[in-house]
């Protein structure tokens, strides 16, 4: 990228990189970092960085798989409810006398079933994922409330709480390790495997994919199962980190998760985006929130700003398209 001998193609390549969404995100990230670092010396310490990740770890884990879903041209609004359902199922099972280890296995199974349920309606009955997951957003949350009603459940086994709250490997807690392992695996699957290519093809043109012999339904089904299963895992991590569950665990997280993914340059219409973009956007959103915390901006305003960011993340690329169209149209 920084070739010493500037040949003729290099400036355009450099410009292209700069003009790409990832380049833009990188610039924004540097800006946010600079502002944060100037506000507090503690910002760049390892402890703060890990803490910053840790506070939203469940969201960013789910954002990874949400990237796949949206590139595929679908949406999964039920993720936060699956997180809530899995956390509540765990609490309920554990307090009904099931051992924590077995409860974890069952909860992952619940996540699998939730995904298969979504996938069935989307792929077999052909109902848009927006509607299916909107109704399961309500439905799964409802089931979570049925399980725990208006109680709060806590007092999980010590090792379970410790996994969520204490560092496991060096300074890194389990959830952060899971995040990075998932990032590497999913990055490989999305960008270096046939499966990943098919995800893009379907997102670009599902009909063309069908005629090219891609089993669209199967891939969509797998993605929705993966989405819910990972959300169930995230729900467990939430329960471990907080050490208690309630009916409203993770409520409204879908907004943040979708915002992160779209800000990362994934098109809501499917077919384009990258996991690297999602990672950059995760870093931006987390640092931004951290910075707002440092600047004493309350949670409600943060949510509003994230909402604004969501709109801007689509508005800005649109504006760029208009601008380039305008510039191209002018000479002729």
């Amino acid at each position: 990228m920084t070739a010493p001998n500037g040949n003729s193609s290099n400036p355009t390549r450099r410009l292209k990189l700069l003009m790409s969404w990832e380049g833009f995100l990188l610039a924004v990230l540097c800006l946010v970092f600079a502002v944060n670092a100037s506000m507090s010396h503690a910002f760049f310490t390892v402890a703060n960085q890990i803490n910053l990740f840790n506070l939203s770890i469940e969201k960013i884990i789910v954002a990874l798989i949400m990237t796949f879903i949206i590139i595929n041209g679908e949406i999964d609004l039920s993720v936060a409810s699956v997180m809530g359902l899995s956390a509540c199922t765990f609490g309920w099972l554990y307090h009904a006398g099931v051992s924590a280890g077995l409860a974890i296995v069952i909860v992952m199974g619940v996540g699998f079933v939730c995904g298969a349920f979504n996938g069935f309606f989307i792929t077999r009955l052909g109902i848009p994922s927006l509607v299916v997951t909107l109704s399961t957003l309500i439905g799964y949350r409802g089931l979570a409330r049925v399980l725990v009603e208006d109680r709060g459940i806590n007092q999980f086994p010590e090792w379970f709480d410790a996994l969520g709250q204490q560092p496991l490997l060096g300074p890194f807690p389990l959830s952060l390790i899971i995040f990075f392992v998932l990032f590497i695996i999913l990055g490989f699957v999305l960008h270096f495997s046939g499966f990943g290519r098919r995800v893009y093809v379907i997102g670009n043109n599902a009909e063309a994919a069908t005629y090219s012999g891609v089993d669209v339904a199967e891939i969509k089904m797998k993605l929705f199962i993966a989405s819910s299963t990972i959300s169930a895992l995230a729900g467990l991590l939430f329960a471990a980190r907080v050490g208690a569950v309630r009916g409203d665990v993770a409520q409204g997280f879908e907004l943040d998760i979708i915002t992160i993914v779209l800000l990362g340059g994934v098109s809501i219409f499917g077919g384009s985006g990258s996991l690297l973009g999602t990672l950059l956007s995760i870093l931006i959103v987390l640092s931004l929130r951290n910075g707002m915390d440092l600047a004493n901006i309350t949670g409600h305003i943060q949510t509003g700003l994230i909402g604004l960011l969501l709109i801007l993340s689509v508005l800005i690329p649109n504006a760029r398209i208009y601008a380039s169209r305008f510039l191209q149209a002018k000479p002729s």
């Binding site: 949406i75 309606f121 009955l125 052909g126 109902i127 848009p128 927006l130 509607v131 299916v132 909107l134 109704s135 399961t136 957003l137 309500i138 439905g139 799964y140 949350r141 409802g142 089931l143 409330r145 049925v146 009603e149 208006d150 009916g247 907004l255 979708i258 915002t259 779209l262 809501i268 219409f269 409600h300 305003i301 943060q302 949510t303 509003g304 700003l305 994230i306 909402g307 604004l308 960011l309 969501l310 709109i311 689509v314 508005l315 649109n318 504006a319």
Partner: protein
């Protein structure tokens, strides 16, 4: 092939089916809950539907154009709060002005949504998911974490929900219910009889075709969002009148319930088909289920949400499968007509031939 005694348009079939389901639900709970079918149920459901149906009508207008408005709950809350603050400071404002203020306030929010969706080409799910959060957090900021209480409101507003237009044998028809009915009839008339109303359907069925037909698609979408915002503003007024005590969480979750009402009422989520009457019936069904499940002793009231989710999914599935079947039937019909035409033409050519 099934032949109905009366020629049913798919639209009417949906409404007919919905009424049947509603009656079944009422009869079922009548066997389960002691002293269920009485005037209290009517009054309770009609007052609470008055609120939900209004936003369901607005939501229907938006969904018809192939969009969705998830910000209505926040607009309802903000409008209720705004009007509450307004009345606390100036208790002597003319009631009509208050209503107009609510409508105007709500339509401003709707316009912002509409601008972003129609003219900046941002998908409505993104815009309204964003503005849902944005409006809510503005409300929190605006309110300064205070709440509106009944005591600070003028008497006419507090007594409005109990006011009757007419009472037939103990069945009170409340003013709020009549307001909603008037809006419903106006919306129904506009959608079925006015050119501008038909544009909503045209845009939702096929935006490209609508554009070629000379319809201003962007304007229609903008109008749908503005009207949805205006109705949410009006709902804010009714909400304030009904509850009196308004906190910053007012109207939370209304967006999902309004989508649920519309979808259960047979409004196609792909746009282009559905009716406000259906959405109104959908709102009634959702509300009847909601209030009845609380009173039903067999299961805990915590099942409400889960049942609501299942109900939406069920009705969308039924609707999709049904409309697919109807499409297949109508295709078969056109096909057979085409075949008849073809044979007719063949016979003509053979007769003409040497």
């Amino acid at each position: 092939m099934v032949r109905f005694p009366i020629k049913f348009a798919p639209q009417n079939l949906r409404i007919f089916g919905l009424i049947v389901v509603l009656i079944c639900v009422l009869l079922f709970f009548a066997t389960q809950i002691h002293n269920y079918l009485n005037k209290d149920l009517f009054i309770r459901v009609s007052t609470s539907v008055a609120i939900m149906a209004l936003i369901a009508i607005g939501q229907t207008l938006v969904i018809l154009t192939r969009n969705i408005d998830l910000s209505v709950g926040s607009v309802v809350g903000f409008s209720a709060f705004f009007l509450g603050g307004l009345l606390t400071r100036n208790p002597n404002i003319n009631p009509l002005l208050v209503v107009l203020a609510g409508v105007g306030f709500g339509s401003l929010f709707g316009m912002l949504n509409g601008l972003l969706v129609a003219y900046a080409n941002v998908p409505s799910i993104i815009v309204t998911l964003g503005t849902m959060a944005l409006y809510r957090s503005s409300l929190v900021q605006f309110s300064g974490a205070k709440s509106i209480s009944t005591a600070s409101l003028p008497q006419w507003l507090v007594s409005l929900p109990q006011m009757n237009v007419i009472s037939v044998g103990g069945y009170d028809i409340r003013v709020t219910f009549v307001i909603t009915l008037v809006v419903l009839l106006m919306a129904h008339f506009a959608l079925t009889r006015l050119r501008g109303g038909r544009h909503f359907y045209a845009v939702g069925s096929n935006p490209a075709a609508a554009r070629f037909a000379g319809i201003n698609v962007n304007w229609t979408v903008f109008l749908a969002f503005t009207l949805s915002g205006a109705l949410a503003g009006l709902t804010g007024f009714l909400f304030l009148a009904r509850f009196g005590n308004i906190t910053v969480v007012a109207g939370l979750g209304f967006e999902l319930k309004s989508v649920a009402s519309a979808v259960v009422g047979g409004v196609n989520i792909f746009g282009g088909s559905g009716s406000v009457i259906g959405a109104f019936l959908g709102a009634i069904l959702v509300d009847v289920l909601d209030t009845s499940l609380v009173r039903w002793e067999v299961i805990s009231e915590f099942w409400r949400e889960a049942v609501l989710g299942a109900l939406i999914l069920l009705s969308v599935t039924a609707d999709t499968l049904l409309s697919r079947k109807l499409l297949a039937i109508s295709l078969k019909r056109t096909k057979s007509t085409q075949e008849q035409m073809a044979t007719f033409q063949d016979s003509l050519t053979t007769r003409k031939g040497p």
